[in-house]
């Protein structure tokens, strides 16, 4: 993905080393990153670059400083997490609906709103389209897990 990144991972690592985390947080790169783990695998100093990218994403998200140009991706990830929190397991239809809805509210991009609309009947035909999504039985524990983690702040 480096070709499309505004700040390549090597620059983000260096910014982090120098303590210029704020600049790194605003990069588009961290949301273009697909988490393929190739960086950490190749690093001759065993720096877990993928984990640093995760950390930058988490900080950017918590501080509300995520790159506006990549808002679709941020919205998607948040929608996914909210979906699991509610259902315990992913409800795809709900995710798509809420993701596309919120994204549209932000960027008013109509083609994006209706992109892949033709997929629905194709998935339906192949019995891959589940109007009623699966939920975990004990959703309470899931909600409590989320609460404990998000409140406790972790280490």
């Amino acid at each position: 993905m480096a070709e499309r990144m505004d700040a390549p991972p090597t620059k983000l690592m260096r910014l982090a080393q120098l303590g210029h985390v704020d600049e790194a947080l605003r990069a588009e790169s961290i949301w273009l990153c697909v988490g393929c783990q190739t960086c950490s695998t190749r690093c001759p100093k065993s720096v877990d670059c993928a984990a640093v990218m995760d950390a930058l994403r988490q900080l950017a998200f918590e501080r509300g400083e995520a790159s506006p140009a990549q808002r679709r991706t941020v919205i998607f990830q948040k929608a996914f997490l909210d979906n699991i929190r509610r259902n315990g397991r992913l409800n795809e239809i709900e995710l798509i609906a809420l993701f596309k809805g919120e994204a549209f509210l932000r960027d008013r991009n109509i083609p994006a709103l209706f992109q892949d609309a033709t997929l629905a009947p194709q998935l339906q035909k192949r019995r891959k389209f589940h109007l009623i999504g699966e939920k975990a039985r004990d959703r309470g524990v899931v909600a409590r897990i989320f609460e404990r983690v998000l409140k406790g702040g972790g280490q």
Partner: protein, 281 residues
């Protein structure tokens, strides 16, 4: 052979053809799958991107459930799930305080988590010789490009499986089934992962490179062991073709599809008729 089974959200969602496939193929090989009761999502990309503690807690819950249900081995057919489960296992093994905290957070004892297996490892557990002996219809006409994707082999210190740069485990299974896997350059390059919806351009670009290289090396199909890769390479194949100005017509099989076919099961049994790209041209 009985294995604990953690399907993950994709296999019960739009990738339920993968579950149909593996249940049919593994069933024919006398493997019983004991699905973990009331499993929850592993957190996937979102959890590790937005909250690293959650990214350990969600898999920890599932490891604890597996323990509670007496499952020593846990088959996770989705590499994102298996990688997250392994990552959580390693993190908690290295830090007993974290393990204790997670046990409290997920309201179940995590200690002694199960050994996590991917689909290729399940075939290795069955034994490639046994697999070969069970083959009724060797896949002589298939020249697959074995596509591993990212998370089956990376990060190597977490998944500890095969070789991260030049893996050969899937080719060994495929060869045992009578097919002739091709050597090619994009075995472990990312397909775009979960960006299918959020950043479709990424998937088009990356998956196109994979399909193009497979074709250039003489493959007439792809084999995968990941539902996300399957979606990107199969469901989006027409879009990718349009983006690249070509048509690929490369069927994308799950590894269990190949096993099932070699064992004499039909396309309908295995759910192959539910793929988007059905036949090569």
């Amino acid at each position: 052979m009985k294995l604990g089974y953690y399907p993950g959200c994709a296999l019960h969602g739009s990738s339920n053809d993968y579950e149909q496939s593996l249940r049919a193929a593994l069933g024919a090989l006398d493997v019983t799958l004991a699905e973990i009761e009331d499993w929850i999502c592993c957190g996937a990309t979102s959890a590790h991107s937005l909250n690293h503690e959650l990214a350990i807690a969600l898999p920890a819950r599932n490891l604890a459930l597996a323990r509670r249900q007496g499952q020593a081995e846990l088959f996770a057919p989705c590499p994102m799930c298996s990688m997250q489960l392994l990552k959580a296992t390693h993190a908690m093994e290295a830090d007993p305080q974290l393990k204790a905290r997670m046990s409290a957070t997920v309201e179940a004892e995590v200690d002694g988590g199960a050994r996590v297996l991917n689909l290729i490892q399940v075939f290795e557990r069955i034994g490639l010789d046994k697999l070969k002996a069970a083959v009724k219809a060797p896949l002589k006409d298939l020249k697959p490009a074995c596509y591993y994707g990212c998370l089956l082999v990376r990060p190597p210190l977490v998944v500890e499986f095969d070789d991260a740069e030049q893996p050969r485990s899937m080719e060994a299974v495929v060869a045992a089934l009578g097919a002739k896997p091709v050597d090619w350059n994009y075995k472990t390059e990312c397909c775009g992962a979960g960006m299918t919806m959020a950043n479709t351009q990424t998937v088009l670009e990356l998956s196109n490179r994979i399909l193009a290289d497979a074709k250039a090396h003489g493959a007439n199909c792809l084999v995968v062991a990941c539902p996300m890769c399957h979606v990107n390479l199969d469901m989006k194949q027409t879009d990718i073709g349009s983006y690249a100005g070509t048509e690929y017509h490369l069927p994308v099989y799950y590894l269990s599809d190949l096993a099932g076919m070699a064992l004499g099961l039909s396309a309908a049994d295995l759910g192959i008729d539910r793929h988007f790209v059905v036949e090569a041209r």
